[in-house]
Symmetry: C2
Subunit: 206 residues, 2 copies
DNA sequence: GTCTATATGCTGATAGAC
DNA sequence: GTCTATCAGCATATAGAC
């Protein structure tokens, strides 16, 4: 809830919170203006259209998410250590931004236009391709040394992504149906991180 | 695209398709009427409000999903066989209804009212509680016999659910970014089913 | 049961005063 | 840069004719 000095940034910040909470369709520029403390006209003065405002936020968030993924491929001395480190980085990033997975998923699933947008802006990026190549090489090396089951690198990524992302997707449900306090939610996240790490490592043994 | 004889059912069927594709907020009763081949007034004549129409569909879908979960707890002679059977049942059900996970997730996440509705209508149901108790007993038995790692039953369910659900959540993305044909999509699903089964079973070894 | 017509409200976006 | 005023469009919902 950092109060920005300029109204332009304040609008954007409020918009992000609302888009995260409610999605694009259920958020109006009137609501954004009201929560930012200005009139609806001003939102359009700065960002022209609602779609344009959303795009800036969406782009920024996807970029941030991909940066986190890029950062996770650093420590490669032992494979188990790498898996543990990567999952740790994902969990830390998502704990600071728990709504991110749902936000990105929702918009990508419900709007084909957004998928086109993603493909044209990111899939071609070298960061992304390099990440996959490095990961692929690492996995093959471990497999040839007999330290890893013969699983496709893609499936390893899917396994990690599914379980990590899912934890945060269902957080509102967990919070509402099973948890009572914030402390319990934190414990849930920490516990899932530990269990996912264990399961993935054990699941990849030859 | 089964054409129903009564307009009442036809409206409901069309509404379900549209809610699945676009979610509640982005679907209008006018659009439902148009695709059903009647006027918008008729939609309200039968279902009074849009919210009411949605609730009926949502309730029905959640019920169907829980029934699938209930059915998965039948074959309990060997634990590996049980895991394989359960994942098989989930995948078959979701392949026939691939949009279900996103539909349910979206409404539960973006609308707290829906979570309250879920809690009051389902969590108290004996089917659900019995499922968990039976599963819990099965896991503890296997663990005491030394055939299973000491993982909480809840975490096993999370692992299976994450990976199964995630497969279908990202299906539109896979379809758009990586697959070319329907055949490739089917292969992806079949492949993931196999890999998830393998990973879960291997991940649970002591 | 199905229609037309209409009420009422909210939406995104723009024009123009200050 | 921020406001007020206003537009056209579409939303949900209802009333009433047939």
């Amino acid at each position: 809830m950092t109060t920005n000095d300029t109204m332009e940034l304040r609008i954007r910040e409020v918009a992000q919170q609302l888009f995260f909470r409610q999605g694009y369709a259920s958020t109006s520029t009137t609501q954004i203006a009201h929560e930012a403390g200005c009139t609806q006209a001003l939102v359009h003065y700065y960002y022209r259209t609602k779609e344009n405002l959303f795009r800036q936020i969406f782009l920024e968030q996807v970029e941030a998410a991909l940066n986190v993924i890029g950062r996770s491929l650093c420590d490669t001395d032992s494979f188990e250590g790498f898996i543990e480190g990567a999952i740790g980085i994902y969990f830390d990033a998502l704990k600071a931004n728990p709504r991110l997975p749902y936000f990105v998923l929702e918009e990508l699933v419900s709007n084909p236009e957004r998928r086109r947008y993603l493909r044209e802006n990111f899939v071609k990026k070298p960061t992304y391709i390099m990440f996959y190549m490095q990961f692929d090489a690492l996995v093959r090396r471990e497999q040839q040394a007999g330290r890893l089951a013969h699983v496709e690198p893609f499936d390893i990524l899917m396994s990690i992504a599914s379980q990590t992302v899912f934890t945060f997707l269902v957080l509102p449900l967990y919070q509402d149906l099973l948890a009572r306090t914030d402390e319990q939610v934190n414990e849930f996240i920490a516990h899932r991180k530990q269990e996912i790490t264990r399961m993935v490592i054990q699941g990849l043994k030859p």
